[in-house]
Amino acid sequence: MRKVDIVGVGMTSFGKHQDKSFIELAVPPIVDALKEANMKPSQVEAGFCSYALAGRLFGAVTAGQTILWHAGINKVPVVNVENACTSGSTAFHLAWMGIALGQFDTAIVVGVEKMVVPNLGLISSGDTEIDTLEGLVTPASFAMRALCHMAEYGTTAEQLALVAVKNRRHASLNQLSQFRDPITVEDVLRSPMICDPLTRLSCCPNADGAAVVVLSAAGRSRRFTAKPVRVAASVLVTGSYENPIDLVPWETDYRACKKAYEIAGLGPNDLDVVECHDAFTISEILHYEAMLLCPTGEGGRLVETGATSLGGTIPVNPSGGLLSKGHPVGATGVAQLVEGVRQLRGEAGARQTEGARVFMAQCMGGDKDGDARSCTANILMNN
């Protein structure tokens, strides 16, 4: 396997982009990322475009070819990727794989979603699944995990709320975040109940947004940039769907992170900064544990210590996370990597983690039989 570097990134702000179509939203960050990589469109040898909802919302089919053509990229292989909330990180994984295996030397990953539309409704695993027909909506499945975590480990509603408070504090330092005003534990607990014990401020908001990553075989990356960032591991796994399965600890999450550590030859103590899939406050706590940032059951107490705040021992979601930025499904997994690259290059401004060398992005998607449909773990590092 060849080594692979990220040589350029770009992203829009996350929030409402009512003036732009789904296609229009995706093009400017491609131009930015190519410019950053000093790469001409004709030098891009493959494209991977992720979106999860545009088919349902706008009837989009194989939109990747249209989007990339607008940015001057044609003729080369283009793949459209849907893998629920990990659509973007899965597209990245495929681009990484193609370069690592020597199929091409450069590739572009474009994640995009436009979902601030009237009557979006609730995200679920699809109207034909019996679980959906029986009333399982995505926030309820995480609410059930939260209840189990509270019952088993004594995690409190205040500890859950602290995740949203911390991520909002981080977001105040990120101009690309949809919500940037500070909130308190009281605000989180008193916001309207969505699915007990998760309140509105415990759940990530919808957003429009697009994010882009440009990759190159490591041997060639310095032609494009003076600051390439190495992909130390890229992992994609699927749930086990064993029955019965416990909601906590989350085996699939642990399995993805463990595999990433093994491939990178690193461990949790090597990480300097992390982005994880905080679709709900409880999610971040579960992911701390799966990433081995703390023992199983200690996630609620970890956030309380401040260790995962900027300035702490292992800052998590310095971008503000999904809880502040919003969650444009197809873009989320790519945007996490954009944040990682900016942290590792020392370009994260007021939210910079000093001297960051190793970054992990954890992302999870979909719901099936009490497990995730997919989970990705990507580790990036400075050479």
């Binding site: 409704g121 609730l122 679920s124 109207d127 034909t128 019996i130 679980d131 959906t132 027909l133 029986e134 009333g135 399982l136 909506v137 926030p139 309820a140 609410a143 059930m144 995990r145 209840l147 189990c148 019952a151 309207p192 109940m193 969505i194 699915c195 007990d196 014990p197 998760l198 769907y241 029955n243 019965p244 399965i245 909601l247 039989d369 009490g370």
Partner: protein, 132 residues
């Protein structure tokens, strides 16, 4: 003449008076499934239909307070219920009239009644578990 009310999902339960959920059973692996899979995912052999236990224990639950899907009442509870005899943990609607006093470990049993609509928007019979 009125058409009979349809089941929320074809073949998912039997006998709405004394209802049982219909799962799958692989005679080779001696495993049960719910719902019944197309083939056994462990040995790829054929799976027979088998009625499951009416009695369960709440493993976890939540009360959904936002605008409900499929014409369900607002709010409604949903849970993961252990069918102890069958060794299965299933996702299911819980009794919408009994949102108070739900707890992990509570005993529940199966009911089937006209409740909400199916994927096609038609009134349907739906299963749920109610506290004993």
């Amino acid at each position: 003449m009125d058409e009979p009310v349809r089941d929320v999902f074809p073949g998912i339960f039997e006998d709405s008076k004394n209802p049982r959920l219909i799962g799958g059973h692989c005679p080779g692996c001696k495993r049960k499934f719910f719902p019944k899979p197309i083939v056994c995912p462990y040995c790829l052999g054929p799976v027979g239909a088998t009625p499951l236990s009416r009695e369960g224990v709440i493993y976890s639950f939540s009360i959904v307070r936002i605008k409900p899907p499929f014409g369900l009442p607002q709010p409604y509870p949903v849970g993961l219920v252990d069918l102890v005899e069958d060794g299965l943990r299933i996702i299911t609607l819980l009794d919408p009239l009994k949102t108070e006093g739900l707890a992990i470990g509570k005993n529940v049993h199966l009911m089937v009644e006209p409740l909400g609509v199916d994927a096609g928007g038609q009134t349907c019979l739906r299963y749920y578990f109610t506290p004993v």
